[in-house]
Amino acid sequence: MTAHGAEDIARHVKVYITVFVALMALTIVTVAIASLHLSVGSAILLAMLIASIKGSLVACYFMHLISEKKIIYCVLGLTVFFFVVLMLLPVVEIESGFHAVNV
């Protein structure tokens, strides 16, 4: 988002509406898939996939991440790294076989 001319914004507004429709559609898809009663593994995979798509739409268009400044990407890149580390946390436990709980 470099220059914010009136035309630019008008174009943005169209994008917002499109994204809104896509989000609604995906919400319905999520609920529909859940009612199919798939196995837990594939249900989790599918639901998280759809949630990630929806999340990316919000982040890219509503939060304008699709055309943001480098410094913001740097901050978020850093956060992603530490977020991934945070997700290692359950892995440590699972890898160790939930030692303390079952003692």
Partner: protein, 253 residues
């Protein structure tokens, strides 16, 4: 330069290309990612370690939550529209869209209340023989309780309302409502949605302030005010984004 004149509060820094406030709000959101990330990893840890885990759709009110998802996504659109209206120099439209955003967020909270309340009057009795009964609690006595079980969902007695029954205290291992103390599933449900709800309340406070007293700045410092609305928007979209993940995680899986 005897006074503390801070630079880049309305105009972006020439090198980074962002204002102080915008960098600040993104840093704040980064810490929020870590906050919800920690709770998410707690969810995974507890779920993987659990002997059994209920399917969210069997326990929670999916239609209400779906409605809430729609409400929140709509509020995100009106939020971004209110910012775009400022960019187009249309203050009246900004107010209208901001008002819609606030109204939708209040609606979200009201729906949430309808979702929460029945959980606290719905009980489960865990018996010593490892079975359990769900239903509504009647009178409580020293040695027994009166309990009306829920009608069965399917099978030959589906939809038939059972009679109130008497359960001896000595047979009861644990009696709990479907509040946070029921199980780790409900504990996580209430903690995550509760924390998310607090974020909604925070957003309502900020947006209301921007709509009324805060908007006085529009007359004096347009760019700075637009920047503030953009930051509030970024926060609001983040709250929406968290819900997009919470919804399938808690209600559907």
């Amino acid at each position: 330069m005897s006074s503390a004149e801070i630079k880049y509060i309305d105009k972006p820094h020439p090198l980074t290309g962002v204002t102080n406030a915008k960098l600040g709000i993104w840093l704040f959101l980064a810490s929020e990612v870590m906050l919800f990330g920690a709770l998410f990893s707690a969810y995974v840890l507890l779920r993987v370690g659990a002997t059994s885990w209920p399917r969210g759709s069997d326990e929670l009110n999916v239609p209400l939550a779906t409605l809430n998802t729609i409400v929140l996504i709509t509020s995100s659109v009106t939020m971004v529209m209110s910012w775009a209206s400022l960019k187009l120099d249309n203050f009246g439209k900004f107010r209208r869209y901001m008002g819609m955003t606030i109204a939708l967020s209040l609606a979200f909270l009201v729906i949430k209340t309808f979702e929460y309340t029945p959980k606290f009057s719905h009980y489960e009795v865990f018996l010593n023989d490892k079975t359990s009964v769900r239903g509504h609690l009647g009178e409580k006595h020293e040695d027994h309780i009166l309990f009306t079980p829920d009608p069965e969902k399917d099978g030959e007695h589906a939809g038939v309302h059972p009679e109130e029954m008497r359960i001896e205290r000595s047979d009861i291992r644990r009696l709990t409502n479907f509040g946070p103390r029921h199980s780790n599933f409900f504990a996580l449900y209430f903690t995550l949605t509760g924390l998310h709800g607090l974020h909604i309340i925070g957003g309502i406070v900020v947006n209301t302030w921007l709509m009324f007293p805060g908007s006085a700045m529009w007359k004096t410092q347009r760019e700075r005010f637009t920047g503030r609305v953009e930051c509030a928007g970024l926060y609001w979209h983040f709250v929406d984004l968290v819900w997009i993940f919470l919804f399938p995680l808690l209600y559907l899986l």
